[in-house]
């Protein structure tokens, strides 16, 4: 039987996706540092949960969890070790790879039972299939790769007591600052993303983008041109240097579709574009496009959406 070790950081959608993908490959053993993560693992079909108690681990960045994950992976010697492709997931995977002299793949969008991993290269323009040739298949899995499907069970729970070594106390998390997220879904996980670009023209006019996003229950995104111009906060940037999104619907308004932007959204299922310039590259990838002034098109669309609801 194929053994899959999965790091479950929390009870979010991305973690559920990784568990769902893992379950399709074999028997899943989940690593959870809190009850919410442990219960998600049970809900998504893990056969076993390592419930780690590591008092103080949360006060330090990466190192304490890296040590725990390394020890568990060394002992379990799985066929696969999967983590979500987040900053933390990638950092932990990197540390495990060096510690165990093991291969490492990041941003995997699919996995076969024989270990073949699919990855996007060059902003999604090329699809790679790779195999790990050193140790087990250690991979971080991209958000949106799998539709999360529950399979509730009663996993065997093994409590792992870990002590945070002094060597793992080098980077202290002195403060955690959460900026108000509002009522909109998280950009990276949203089913619908409505993004504005340079064509929006000002910070004030981004309110129109927000209204469309709210009407569709989506998140708001922005192109680099828009964030660089100060129209919208940088953390909402979609693109090569921002967030990569893969929603069911991506609506781009006033965005030309430079490669830098396409890198962050071209695996979206349905792409809709509104732009004044009929030659904008975004129309080349749109399932539906309107050549026109977004300040005419979007308010009319909004009115129609409200009517149809």
């Amino acid at each position: 039987m194929t053994d899959i070790l999965v790091y479950v950081p929390n009870s979010g959608k991305h973690a559920a996706e990784v568990l769902t993908l893992a379950r399709s490959l074999g028997d899943v053993s989940a690593i959870a540092f809190d009850d919410a993560a442990a219960s998600l693992a049970g809900e998504y079909g893990a056969a076993k949960v390592y419930r780690v108690e590591a008092p103080g681990a949360d006060d330090y960045f990466v190192d304490p969890k890296a040590t725990v994950l390394t020890d568990l992976a060394r002992n379990a010697n799985p066929d696969f070790f999967l983590l979500p492709s987040t900053d933390e997931g990638k950092a932990l995977a990197a540390r495990v790879a060096v510690a165990l002299d093991n291969g490492l793949m990041t941003d995997v969008s699919g996995l076969d039972a024989d270990g073949t991993a699919s990855q996007d290269a060059f902003a999604g323009a090329t699809i790679l299939k790779s195999k790990s040739t050193k140790g087990f298949t250690l991979a971080t899995v991209k958000s949106g790769s799998t539709e999360p499907t529950p399979a509730p069970g009663s996993p065997a729970v093994e409590t792992v007591n870990a002590v945070v070594a002094e060597a793992d106390q080098r980077v202290k998390i002195a403060q955690r600052v959460d900026e108000p997220a509002g009522d909109r879904p998280a950009l990276a996980e949203a089913r619908v993303v409505v993004s504005g670009g340079r064509g929006v023209g000002s910070a004030e006019d981004f309110a129109l983008i927000e209204r469309v996003a709210d009407a569709l229950g989506g998140a708001v995104g922005a192109s680099r041109a828009a964030t660089d111009a100060g129209y919208y906060p940088h953390k909402f940037q979609v693109g090569q240097t921002g967030t990569t999104v893969s929603p069911q619907l991506y609506l781009a308004a006033g965005i030309s579709g430079a490669i830098q932007h396409r890198a962050g959204m071209q695996t979206s299922r349905v792409i809709v574009a509104v732009n004044k310039d009929a030659d904008a590259p975004i129309f080349g990838m749109a399932d539906f496009g309107v050549v026109g002034d977004l300040f005419q098109v979007l308010p009319q669309a909004l009115e129609e959406i409200e009517k149809r609801k």
Partner: protein
């Protein structure tokens, strides 16, 4: 304070990029530029040097043409460069790359290593942590702000919904996002001065690294294919009905 800034020459992400016959990033046919996020790392290093003194050394690993990127960093204001250049490097994976860079860092005196949060060709974003594991220095990644008093460092680690304040004692490894600063352009004076700045070229033998390239890689690309083009969509020109047409499409696709 002595700072090493890591830079990587990459194919320009604004143009079409491809793999070569060995299924590696094609660097010969591409327009090669400094990694997009590396410029922010360079600027952060120069600002810290201006505030605290010391030297900025640029470290790169790449073919001969990466000299252009090294010269650009020197023109921006870095003091000297180390360029690891060896025919055996091509096709190395991230783990081997980290072993080579760690060996090069072992020859330098540094309090701080600064890198971009990820390269803009492979976008893995793991190098700072790989180097932390190999050098024993702590990694504080994804910074949108750096403060140091010369003996310890504080960064704001950017997250999707906020940030974490991280602190550590130097020496340390930091990576930065493009939210941290606005990189300077090289001045004419800087470009002239760069020509006289020392660039040390090292080979794998100099660094004592025996295994590199595809043979040492821990994974193998078995197939590469261009993403199938999206089927052509419906494009309408707004003549007063564009918004309704858009809403109609969204309804037909069941988004309303």
């Amino acid at each position: 304070m002595n700072i090493v800034v890591l830079v990587k020459q990459v194919p320009d992400s604004g143009l079409a990029r491809q793999l070569d016959a060995q299924l590696r990033v094609d660097r010969n046919g591409a327009n090669n530029v400094m990694g997009e996020l590396d410029e922010y790392a360079v600027e952060a290093a120069l600002q810290l040097k201006e505030a605290h003194g010391g030297e900025v050394t640029v470290l790169t690993l790449g073919p001969g043409q990466a000299t252009e990127t090294v010269r650009k960093v020197l023109a921006m204001g870095a003091d000297k460069a180390v360029h690891v250049e060896d025919d055996a490097v091509g096709g190395s994976d991230a783990l081997t790359t980290s072993a080579i860079l760690a060996a090069a860092l072992g020859r330098l005196e540094w309090d701080l290593v600064i890198a971009g949060a990820e390269s803009t060709d492979s976008n893995m974003g793991v190098m700072p942590q790989l180097l932390a594991a190999r050098t024993g220095a702590p990694a504080l990644t994804g910074a949108r702000k750096i403060d140091t008093d010369g003996s310890s460092i504080t960064v704001e680690h950017q997250r999707a919904n906020g940030y974490d304040v991280l602190t550590a004692t130097l020496p340390a490894i930091v990576s930065v996002w493009d939210t941290i600063n606005t990189p300077r352009y090289p001045s004419l004076k800087g470009i002239m001065a760069a020509k006289r700045k020392p660039v040390e070229t090292l080979t794998l033998a100099d660094l004592g690294v025996a295994a590199a390239g595809p043979a040492a890689a821990s994974n193998e690309v078995v197939e590469a294919a261009a993403r199938p083009p999206r089927s052509a969509g419906q494009i309408v020109t707004d003549e007063g009905q564009g918004g309704s047409a858009l809403a109609g499409f969204l309804a037909a696709e069941k988004f309303i």
